[in-house]
């Protein structure tokens, strides 16, 4: 059994045109920088991308947008990206906006083998249009389906040879959920350690969910809104 890949190029090499990808992160926090760079290089087109945000113009998923590699974006918030807005308004890019909790839970449902979940988010709004709804205990819920992604690409702080992952602070966000949800899950980590160095009690993503792991390099870890106490 070997899950360790040399680098991002090797890990994403078989991602082809038309693939459905999940990309971890919230804003620019906890995004798989190395894999995104490798995808820009390898250049698959017509990708469907499931991610909470769409990066900024010159970083994160914004880099894939610049190269026009995306056919469709499924996200909850895309407000920091002018190129995104341009492609959306021009019709080049198909966009599905869904509530953030729904996005997260549809990933989890996939990793937990649950075909669908019920959530009240979006009831009475345009998000509910065309969706099945149901009343439980006098409250209305929408039926939302588990995602079906070819590849989940996540970023963790530490990982081991068995594929166990540990995240740091709020860079956790969607990463563990997407890690569970990919047919093939690729994890890039800041530090790849031998199995046995991570306390089993502190593993956030058990290795069973991770198929490929590599040590990333040159992390930029850009801060979107530097806000300081004076």
């Amino acid at each position: 059994m070997n899950k360790i890949y040399k680098n991002a190029d090797e890990a994403v090499a078989d991602i082809k045109d038309g693939a459905v990808l999940m990309l971890g992160g919230f804003g620019l926090c906890g995004i798989p920088e190395n894999c995104i760079a490798a995808l820009v290089k390898s250049g698959p087109k017509n990708l469907t991308c499931i991610s909470n945000n769409a990066g900024v113009d010159d970083f994160g998923i914004g880099l894939l947008l610049q190269q026009k590699q995306l056919k469709k974006m499924i996200a909850s918030y895309v407000g920091e990206n002018a190129e995104f807005e341009r492609q959306l308004l021009s019709g080049e890019l198909e966009v599905e906006l869904i509530p953030q909790g729904t996005l997260a839970t549809r990933c989890m449902a996939s990793g937990y083998g649950m075909p669908a979940i019920y959530t009240p988010a979006g009831v009475g709004t345009e998000v509910a249009v065309g969706k099945e709804s149901r009343i439980f205990n006098d409250k209305e819920y929408l039926l939302e389906y588990a995602f079906d992604a070819d590849f989940a690409i996540v970023k963790a702080w530490r990982g081991d040879a068995d594929g166990n992952l540990v995240y740091k602070d709020t860079a956790r966000n969607f990463n563990p959920l997407m890690a569970m949800a990919g047919k093939i899950t690729i994890a890039e980590v800041e530090e790849l350690v031998p199995s046995g160095e991570i306390d089993p009690n502190q593993v956030h993503t058990p290795g069973i969910y991770v198929h490929r792991i590599f040590q990333g390099k040159n992390y930029e870890k850009r801060i979107e809104q530097l806000t300081l106490t004076k």
């Binding site: 906006l97 909790g101 009475g124 709004t125 709020t170 990463n175 530097l226 300081l228 106490t229």
Partner: protein, 218 residues
């Protein structure tokens, strides 16, 4: 005189109670954290996966791995916990968050809210707002009473795409504190020096003025 944004936040902070778990949205709601009353403990939830959000870091202590839902650098506090986005919205959906404060473009007299989209003009997405308003038991909207064109944001019915329905319980604007009741907006308090007449004139939805309206106390 109309309240400043800081004063709106200050007035909302008076609604906080000891032991409350609170989610503060982007904008004016974020400022509420600066006015937590003395002697009570309030725990801030950030829906990107943090309970116990602390203040912004001092220079040099910022971390790209530690941000709030507005993507601002923040800090943790003793007793903080970190979790993934599914658990974060799980606790929101389960009603464990005691109070949610968020901004809005429009609120209707039956408690509907619109806050995420202006068709043809602005498409940013709903983020976590739809989840929050669909599940929170206690939601306060912090917003200006009118938009830039001077039109009332308290309407008989929302004109913009909705974020959630029949969910808003209270509204604090620069002019007034209002409760959303079965019969419409009920005026509870006036900003110091603002007349009931001004509030009436700037409220397009049904407004209930039952008695002499007191001025807000800070």
């Amino acid at each position: 005189m109309a309240l400043t944004k800081e004063q709106i936040a200050q007035r909302i902070a008076k609604e906080l109670k000891d032991g409350y778990y609170v989610n503060l949205g982007i904008g004016i709601p974020t400022l509420v954290a600066n006015y937590i009353p003395e002697g009570i403990k309030v725990i801030l939830q950030s829906e990107n996966g943090l309970l116990g959000m602390g203040p912004f870091p001092v220079a040099g202590k910022e971390s790209a791995d530690l941000i709030n839902a507005g993507k601002q650098t923040i800090t943790t506090l003793p007793g903080s916990s970190i979790f993934d986005s599914a658990m974060s919205f799980g606790m929101i959906r389960a009603g464990k968050v005691n109070l949610t404060v968020l901004g809005a473009m429009e609120v209707s007299e039956n408690g509907d809210i619109a806050s995420w989209k202006i068709p043809g003009k602005m498409v940013k997405g709903m983020g976590g707002a739809m989840d929050l308003v669909a599940s929170a038991k206690n939601i306060i909207v912090a917003m200006m009473h009118t938009n830039r064109q001077g039109e009332s944001k308290l309407l008989p019915a929302c004109t913009l795409p909705l974020t959630g329905i029949k969910c808003i319980k209270k509204i604090v604007t620069e002019l007034a504190v209002l409760e959303v009741t079965e019969n419409g907006f009920k005026l509870l308090e006036r900003a110091p020096g603002v007349t009931t007449e001004e509030i009436i004139s700037k409220t397009a939805g049904k407004l209930i003025v039952e008695r002499e309206i007191p001025e807000m106390q800070f």
